[in-house]
């Protein structure tokens, strides 16, 4: 009798666990396997040169390849579409040898001309990332499978930048056919072919069985945007989705105890910080900014808000990234010193306490800011103690960065995940005067210090790692003293997945590469 119940139970469970048909490829049935990836948001436009959205990048890295790419598990640069490459002694000429017999999903061949076409397009139309490719002077076709990059100046991060998603190699044929439509029907060389996308509902990728590294582990991938994290959790428990990302830290701790669910965790290459609009009084006074820094209880942030899955930050460069300044000592949580500094500033600038300020927070969680509202509350509680009354305004992500780049805020929650594992990607992108502009400039604090600028520019062209490191250390020391932002946390990158999903490992770069994911074969 008990056996019958067991069988009945199994029968009932099978359709749940097998949503979408992930029943493994038994010899007889040849069922197609589908991996469902549940996430908090949707893509914006699937064109590598036109996007800067993290949710889009999750799709792009599966559809496209780059010339070089990160190794499957580490941040080492490995060959990809380029089999091998050579550099001239002065670091100005780079010759890439392409892998032969690679074709795009539309059947057109990958050749040197395609590379040239893509970089011309990136340099002309590149949206937020053009500056990363500024060193490129020319791209020339040497022969069918050889392409030569000539640089204006030697760049230590050139190769890393080639591994970044804006440098994805698109099919020139498809782009030429209808460039406007390309963002809704991308064609690359990657492990998955784009199949369909209904915005806000689902995005489907088909396995590219002819992929040059071999076919991917599943036949189909579906990206589902599921706004509510509580629903993502439930769907993961029921097996309706196989991977869920961007979940609240406390939820993940509970999920980890559930059978059939596995948690993966890595220190993220990211930083969550408090941007202060340095142009707006009284925030133009360094003492006010330092006072705010002293007043924020980062320990409470890490242990309560992030349930222990984040580490306090004192510089924007994460500890896992080159030239993270280990010699700096964070300002301790010290209300008395904060009050003293604020009082001094009030005397100097003649403003009265308590101050009233706005704090902008994003409505949707980000990997570096998994609990935006709770983080905002910690900051409000902290600053209340030193006489700064905050009003919290939560803003939808679609308008958020735009409004911040225009400098509308006084205080705002912000953050960054590195694309290329280099301090330049944090310090230059987030604090250099070159990146102050109303159209998506990432220097949200509008911090403008010539001494920092000089060092950051020099470091961009410095090949010697020791000298580069020194330049970045000096820049971080000046920034620490000026306190244009309050670095808050480096969060752990954590994802929950069903135990039957094998082979998928979150990558230190945070790129979601699903090629190796596969379903565990069920024992007969």
């Amino acid at each position: 009798m008990r056996l019958v119940f067991c069988l009945l139970g199994l029968l009932c469970l099978t359709p749940l666990a097998g949503c979408g048909g992930n029943r493994g490829g038994d010899a007889s049935g040849q069922k197609r396997t589908t991996l469902v990836y549940g996430r908090g948001g949707d893509a914006d436009i699937l064109d590598p040169v036109l996007t800067s959205s993290g949710e889009t990048v999750k799709v792009l890295v599966n559809v496209f390849d780059t010339l070089v790419a990160y190794d499957d598990e580490t941040l080492e640069i490995a060959p990809s579409l380029a089999e091998r490459w050579e550099t001239s002694d002065d670091g100005l000429t780079w010759t890439f040898h392409l892998r032969p017999q690679v074709t795009f999903h539309d059947g057109s061949p990958l050749n040197a001309e395609a590379i040239q076409f893509n970089f011309a397009r990136l340099l002309k139309k590149g949206f937020g990332y053009r500056a990363h490719y500024a060193p490129i002077a020319s791209v020339t076709v040497q022969d069918e499978l050889t392409v030569v990059f000539q640089l204006k100046y030697a760049s230590p991060v050139f190769l890393n930048n080639l591994a970044m998603f804006p440098a994805s190699i698109c099919s020139p044929q498809a782009v030429r056919q209808d460039e406007a439509a390309f963002g809704f029907h991308p064609v690359g060389t990657g492990p998955f072919k784009f199949q369909s996308w209904t915005p806000k509902q689902k995005l489907v990728l088909e396995a590219n069985t002819e992929y040059w590294r071999g076919p991917p582990g599943v036949d189909r991938v579906i990206f589902l945007p599921i706004d509510e994290s509580a629903i993502r959790v439930k769907q993961l428990e029921r097996g309706e989705i196989h991977i869920a990302d961007n979940l609240p830290p406390s939820e993940l701790d509970v999920l980890a105890t559930r059978p059939g669910i596995v948690l993966q965790s890595l220190p993220g290459m990211n930083v969550g910080y408090l941007a202060m609009q340095n142009e707006k009084p009284p925030l133009n006074n360094k003492k006010v900014r330092q006072a705010i820094w002293f007043a924020i209880n980062k320990r409470r942030l890490c242990e309560v808000t992030y349930s222990g899955h984040a580490r306090p930050a004192f510089t924007l460069v994460p500890p896992t990234v080159f030239a993270h300044h280990t010699g700096l000592q964070d300002r301790p949580y010290d209300i008395e010193r904060a009050k003293k500094l604020l009082a001094e500033a009030a005397r100097e600038d003649g403003f009265a306490l308590p101050l009233k300020m706005q704090l902008f927070a994003m409505q949707q969680p980000r990997p570096y800011m998994q609990q935006p509202r709770q983080t905002a509350l910690v900051i409000r509680d902290s600053l209340e103690k030193i006489g700064i009354d905050l009003t919290i305004t939560t803003i939808d992500l679609r308008q958020y960065w735009q409004r911040l780049s225009r400098g509308e805020h006084e205080l705002a929650l912000a953050g960054w995940t590195s694309d290329n594992n280099d301090p330049d990607n944090f310090l230059y992108a987030l604090l250099d005067p070159d990146n102050i502009n109303d159209q998506g400039g990432n220097n949200l604090s509008r911090y403008n210090n010539a001494k920092v600028h000089r060092r950051l520019i020099a470091a961009q062209r410095e090949i010697d790692p020791a000298v580069r490191k020194r330049l970045y250390f000096e820049a971080q020391e000046i920034i620490f003293d000026d306190a244009p932002v309050v670095p808050l946390v480096h969060t752990d990158q954590r994802v929950a997945l069903r135990a039957e999903v094998q082979g998928y490992k979150i990558h230190p770069s945070t790129l979601v590469r699903l090629r190796l994911a596969r379903f565990q074969k069920k024992s007969p």
Partner: protein, 293 residues
């Protein structure tokens, strides 16, 4: 002149009201919430935005503490004491609900009186405007109002007030229509009373009882509407101790802990139940008929 005021028989109504268990339950619930709102500063164990840790000076930081002797309803994701915030939340919820109903009465009632008294074009103009407002789902109107303003509680009160205006205008108009042609009104008119006198002194008293009943019932729905809007995350200030906003924060952690949702949820239900019971028994006691809303 005051021969047949419809509010006669107050003693009988009072007796009916006192005899019903419903009214006492309603009074008790509403009294409890009002008491909590007034006495929040004295009865709460913590401050609204004070974490458990800050209160106790503990070394171990945590969130989502389970209900215990120190935290009867546990703590939330920010380690705020849920009971404290529920008690403080009664202030914002009752105040916002109350003010918005006051607003609805002060606009709706005069409009209803004017429509009922003048009739004709004035009546048509007022009532058709109200029909138009009623044609939209009330939540949509609230969205419109809220998008026109920045965050804060004032727009929420305005929005909830606005969507309640038609209810009062219609009911008051109906009440005025029933007494408009009665003898005492005709007598007043024949004795040469001005329009203002007729409207405010002679006709308006006829609308007082339905307005009282409606306002009591309306308070219940206003509390829900305010909580609903802040639950959706529009209007209000992020981080304020308010029931709807608390529910919104709790929903992200439902799998981890239920208690941050139970407190505000129960508070909303009990308050609304209280107002509904009170309104119902007032209606029975005052023996008036209300049109279907």
């Amino acid at each position: 002149m005051t021969a047949q005021k419809p509010s006669a028989g107050g003693a009988r109504a009072r007796k009916r009201f006192c005899r019903s268990a419903k009214s006492w339950m309603g009074l008790a619930l509403v009294g409890l919430m009002l008491g909590a709102a007034l006495a929040a500063d004295w009865v709460t164990p913590y401050k609204a935005n004070q974490t458990s840790t800050a209160a106790a000076g503990e070394e171990h930081l945590a969130n989502h503490r389970r209900p215990s002797r120190r935290h009867w309803l546990g703590t939330d994701a920010n380690d705020y004491d849920v009971l404290t915030r529920v008690i403080y939340g009664s202030r914002l919820s009752l105040l916002a609900g109350g003010v918005s109903i006051l607003l609805a009465v002060s606009v709706g009632a005069p409009a209803g009186i004017a429509a009922g008294y003048f009739g004709g074009v004035v009546d048509a103009a007022i009532m058709r405007t109200i029909d138009i407002v009623l044609a939209f789902p009330s939540i949509l109107i609230a969205f419109l109002v809220l998008t026109a303003f920045h965050n804060g509680w004032t727009p929420v009160i305005l929005a909830v007030g606005l969507i309640n205006i038609p209810i009062f205008a219609r009911q008051v108009r109906a009440a005025i229509m029933t007494v408009r042609d009665l003898e005492y009104v005709q007598a007043a008119r024949a004795s040469g009373a001005s329009s203002g006198y007729l409207m405010w002194r002679v006709l308006a008293p006829a609308a007082v009882t339905p307005v009282i009943v409606l306002a009591t019932l309306g308070l219940g729905s206003a509390v829900i509407e305010v909580a609903g809007l802040s639950f959706l995350g529009i209007g209000g200030n992020a981080g304020d101790a308010e029931w709807g906003a608390m529910l919104n924060e709790a929903k992200d952690h439902l799998n981890t802990s239920l208690w941050p949702a139970i407190g505000p949820g129960a508070a909303i239900s009990l308050t609304v139940l209280g107002f509904n019971l009170l309104g119902d028994s007032l209606r029975d006691a005052l023996d008036i008929r209300l049109d279907a809303r």
